[in-house]
C-alpha cells in the first residue's frame, strides 16, 4: 500500500497524467467543437492517424520538425474538409462519412507508409524529426508544481492553451455564438441570416485541426515514429471524454484528465503485486463510474427542470 502511495503521489506520476492525457484532450476538443455545431465527427481517430503519418513523412523528407507539423495540420484540415464536403454539400450521413474516414485512415496510412518506406508496420526506416520539449522558466523552480508542469512536450502546452482558446471562442466570440446557435437550432439560426453550412464547415475544420495536433503529438514527440494504428483508440476515448464532460469546455478538459489519469494509474499499478487482469480493468471501471456520475447528474437536472415546469409548484 505504501508503495502504491509512493507511486501515485509522485511528481513523475502527475507529470505522466498530462503526457498521457494530451492526445485524448486534443481529440476531445475536436469532438467538442463539432458537436457544438450539431455535427458528430466520429472521424477523429482517422484524422489523428493520417496526421501522425504525415508529420513523420514530411519531417523525414524536409528534415524540419516544423514543416512536418505544418504538413500534419494541413493533412488533418484536408481530411476534415473532404468530410465536410461530402456531408454538408452532398448530404452524406455524417456517421457514414466518419466511418469512411476511419477505415480509409487505417488502411491508407499503411499503404502510403509502404509507398514511402517499403515497410508496412512502422516508419523505423525513415529518419523523422520530433518537436521539442519545453521547459518553462520561473515555473520550473516552483517546488512540487515545477517538475509536474515544466518540461512537457510543446504540443502539451498547445493543448492546454487550446482549452482556454476554446472557452473564449465559445463564450465570447461571434463565431462561437454562431456555432452554438447552429448546433442548437439550425432553422432558427438560418432564419436570422446565419449561413448554417458555412458555420458547420468551419467547426468541422477546427475539429480537424485539433485532431491533427493530437496525431502530430503521437508521432512527433510522444513517440518518434509512426506505426500502424498507433493512435489505438485515443480518438474514440476523446469522443467519450467530450460526452462525459457534458459538452462543456471545462467538463471536457477535466474528463480528459480523468481518462488520462486512469490510464496512467493502470500503467503504474502493474509494477505492484496486483493481478494484471484486475489492473487492466481500471480504464473501463473509470468509464463506468464516469457514466454513472453523468447519468445521476443528468437525472437530477431533468427532475429539477420538471419541477420548475410543473404547475403544482407554482
Amino acid at each position: 500500500m505504501n508503495e502504491l502511495l509512493n507511486i501515485v503521489f509522485s511528481t513523475d506520476f502527475a507529470f505522466s497524467i498530462l503526457r498521457v492525457a494530451t492526445p485524448i484532450l486534443f481529440a476531445a476538443l475536436g469532438a467538442l467543437i463539432s458537436n457544438k455545431a450539431g455535427i458528430v465527427n466520429i472521424g477523429l481517430e482517422g484524422i489523428m492517424l493520417v496526421s501522425a503519418l504525415t508529420g513523420v513523412v514530411v519531417s523525414a523528407q524536409t528534415g524540419s520538425a516544423w514543416v512536418g507539423l505544418a504538413g500534419a495540420v494541413l493533412a488533418g484540415l484536408l481530411i476534415a474538409a473532404i468530410l465536410g464536403f461530402f456531408t454538408l454539400k452532398f448530404r452524406t450521413h455524417i456517421i457514414l462519412g466518419g466511418v469512411a474516414v476511419n477505415m480509409f485512415a487505417s488502411g491508407g496510412t499503411v499503404f502510403i507508409l509502404y509507398l514511402v518506406s517499403g515497410d508496412k508496420g512502422a516508419s523505423t526506416s525513415l529518419k523523422s524529426e520530433v518537436l521539442p520539449n519545453v521547459r518553462l522558466p520561473l515555473v520550473e523552480d516552483i517546488p512540487v508544481l515545477g517538475p509536474i508542469l515544466s518540461g512537457h512536450h510543446l504540443l502539451t502546452y498547445v493543448a492546454l492553451l487550446s482549452v482556454v482558446a476554446m472557452y473564449y471562442l465559445l463564450k465570447r466570440m461571434p463565431l462561437g455564438l454562431r456555432i452554438r446557435s447552429v448546433g442548437e437550432n439550425p432553422h432558427a439560426a438560418q432564419s436570422v441570416g446565419v449561413r448554417v453550412n458555412r458555420v458547420q464547415f468551419t467547426a468541422l475544420l477546427l475539429s480537424g485541426l485539433f485532431a491533427s495536433l493530437g496525431g502530430a503529438y503521437m508521432s512527433m514527440g510522444y513517440l518518434s515514429l509512426f506505426s500502424r494504428d498507433m493512435t489505438a483508440g485515443r480518438g474514440w476515448i476523446g469522443i467519450a471524454a467530450e460526452a462525459v464532460g457534458r459538452s462543456t469546455t471545462v467538463g471536457t478538459f477535466l474528463s480528459s484528465l480523468v481518462f488520462g489519469a486512469a490510464d496512467a494509474l493502470a500503467n503504474a499499478l502493474q509494477i505492484l503485486k496486483i493481478p494484471s487482469e484486475l489492473v487492466a480493468t481500471t480504464p473501463y471501471v473509470t468509464t463506468v463510474v464516469g457514466l454513472t456520475v453523468y447519468a445521476i447528474a443528468e437525472t437530477r437536472l431533468k427532475k429539477r427542470k420538471a419541477r420548475r415546469h410543473s404547475p403544482s409548484d407554482s
Binding site: K120, T124, Y222, S227, Q270, I271, K273, S276
Partner: protein, 379 residues
C-alpha cells in the same frame, strides 16, 4: 450537372487505378521488398522442385512474413527451386479460395504458417494427398498426414535473453545501475507471450539467482504509446534492461530506452538492424533480439523434402539445438555486451543444446503456476 458527371468519372477512374495497383500488389508477389523471390524461376530449370509460399497477410512486417519470404529466397538460391510468393492479405475469407487454387496447380511443396491458418492448411492438405505441405509456425498439435508443422521453442531463446538481461543488470556496463532489477513488457497475458516470460525468468534466475523482474502487459499489440509508458515506469523503478514481446507496442519500449538511456532486447526479428540506419543511438541500446529463424527452418524443411527425409504428419518443436531459435548476434551484441557475459551466454547455449538445462514451457501451465513464477521474482 456537367461538372458532377466529370467528378463522377474522375472518381471512377481513381478507384480503378487504385484497385489495379492493389490487385497487382496482392496477386503478384512481393514486388517491393524482394523482387527475386517474386518472379517465377526461368523455364531453364523446368525439372526443379516447385515451391510456393502463401502469406496469410502482407509482406513488409519486418518479422514473421518477411522471414518466411527470406527463407523462400534461400530455397531458390541454394536449392535451385522454382518459387513463388503469394500475399493473401488480411481478409481471411480470401484465404480458402487461394489455398484451393494453389493446391490445384502443379506445385510440389506448399508452405504457409501461423496458428490462424493451421486448420485451413490441414483441411486443404487432406484434399490433396499428393502434395507436400509445410506449416512453418503453429502451436496446434493436429497435423494432416502430408503436413510437416513447426513450433518454436521460444522458452529456450528467452532463457538466453533472461541470462543476458540479468548479467547486464549486474555488470558494470555504462547504462546499468546497481539495482538487480530487469523488466519485461508483454503484449497480452496469453500463453504464447508467457512462454517467453517463463523462459526469461528462469534464464535470469539461472544467471543471477536473486534477480527481480518487473512485468507489465500492454493488453494491445499496436499501441506503442502504452508500451513507452509501461517501460518508463519500469526504468524509473530501477530496471536497466527490458525484454519486449509486444509487436508494435514494443516499439514504444525502444523509445523509452532511448529517453532513459537504458537497454532493451528485441523479439522475433533482429530489431536493432531495422533502425541502425536511421537512429543509431537507439539501435545501440538494443543489445540483442530473440529471433525465430523461420528462414533457416524453411530452407532445411525444403532441403529435407528434396532428399525425402522430411517426416510427414508431425509437429516438430525446433529450439536452440535445431537452430530454430537464437539470439541476434550482431555487431551491437559483440560491441556493447562485455566478453565475459557473452562467454557465459555461450556456455548456457551449449548446455541447452546438450539438454543439460531444461526450460519449462508455459504453454501447458495453468494460471496459478504462472502466477507463482511471476510472483517469485516480483520486486
Amino acid at each position: 450537372m456537367k461538372q458532377k458527371w466529370v467528378l463522377v468519372v474522375l472518381l471512377l477512374a481513381l478507384t480503378l487505378t487504385a484497385c489495379s495497383k492493389a490487385g497487382s500488389n496482392g496477386g503478384e508477389a512481393s514486388s517491393g521488398s524482394s523482387p527475386s523471390a517474386g518472379n517465377s524461376a526461368s523455364a531453364s530449370n523446368s525439372g526443379a522442385l516447385k515451391v510456393v509460399l502463401l502469406i496469410p497477410g502482407t509482406l513488409g512486417d519486418k518479422s514473421f512474413f518477411d522471414a518466411a519470404n527470406a527463407g523462400l529466397t534461400k530455397v531458390k538460391q541454394e536449392l535451385g527451386a522454382e518459387t513463388k510468393v503469394i500475399e493473401m492479405g488480411t481478409d481471411q475469407t480470401k484465404w480458402e479460395p487461394t489455398f484451393n487454387d494453389v493446391a490445384g496447380q502443379d506445385w510440389d511443396v506448399i508452405i504457409s504458417g501461423g496458428s490462424q491458418i493451421t486448420e485451413l492448411l490441414n483441411a486443404t492438405a487432406e484434399q490433396h494427398p499428393d502434395k507436400t505441405f509445410i506449416n512453418y509456425d503453429t502451436d496446434i498439435q493436429e497435423t494432416a498426414a502430408n503436413v510437416h508443422a513447426y513450433s518454436y521453442a521460444t522458452n529456450e531463446v528467452s532463457f538466453l535473453t533472461g541470462a543476458v538481461a540479468a548479467l547486464t543488470s549486474t555488470s558494470g556496463m555504462p547504462n546499468a545501475n546497481p539495482d538487480k532489477l530487469i523488466g519485461f513488457v508483454g503484449g497480452m497475458d496469453i500463453p504464447g507471450i508467457n512462454a517467453f516470460l517463463v523462459g526469461y525468468i528462469e534464464g535470469a534466475k539461472y544467471a543471477v539467482p536473486d534477480i527481480k523482474v518487473a512485468i507489465s502487459y500492454a493488453g494491445d499489440f499496436a499501441n506503442p504509446g502504452k508500451g513507452k509508458e509501461l517501460s518508463l515506469l519500469q526504468y524509473n523503478s530501477g530496471a536497466d534492461l527490458i525484454f519486449n514481446v509486444a509487436g508494435g507496442t514494443g516499439l514504444g519500449v525502444f523509445e523509452a530506452a532511448k529517453e532513459k538511456k537504458r537497454y532493451a532486447i528485441g523479439v522475433d526479428s533482429d530489431q536493432a538492424a531495422m533502425m541502425t540506419g536511421t537512429d543509431a543511438d537507439k539501435a545501440s541500446l538494443i543489445v540483442t533480439s530473440a529471433i525465430k529463424k523461420i528462414d533457416e527452418v524453411i530452407l532445411s524443411a525444403v532441403t529435407k523434402v528434396k532428399d525425402g527425409s522430411l517426416e510427414m504428419g508431425k509437429l516438430e518443436v525446433v529450439g536452440i539445438k535445431e537452430n530454430g531459435v537464437g539470439l541476434a548476434e550482431n555487431s551491437i551484441y559483440s560491441n556493447v555486451v562485455p566478453e565475459d557475459i557473452r562467454a557465459k551466454v555461450e556456455e548456457i547455449k551449449t548446455k541447452l543444446t546438450s539438454g543439460e538445462i531444461k526450460v519449462d514451457n508455459a504453454m501447458g501451465m495453468d494460471t496459478a503456476q504462472i502466477d507463482e513464477i511471476r510472483n517469485s521474482v516480483k520486486p
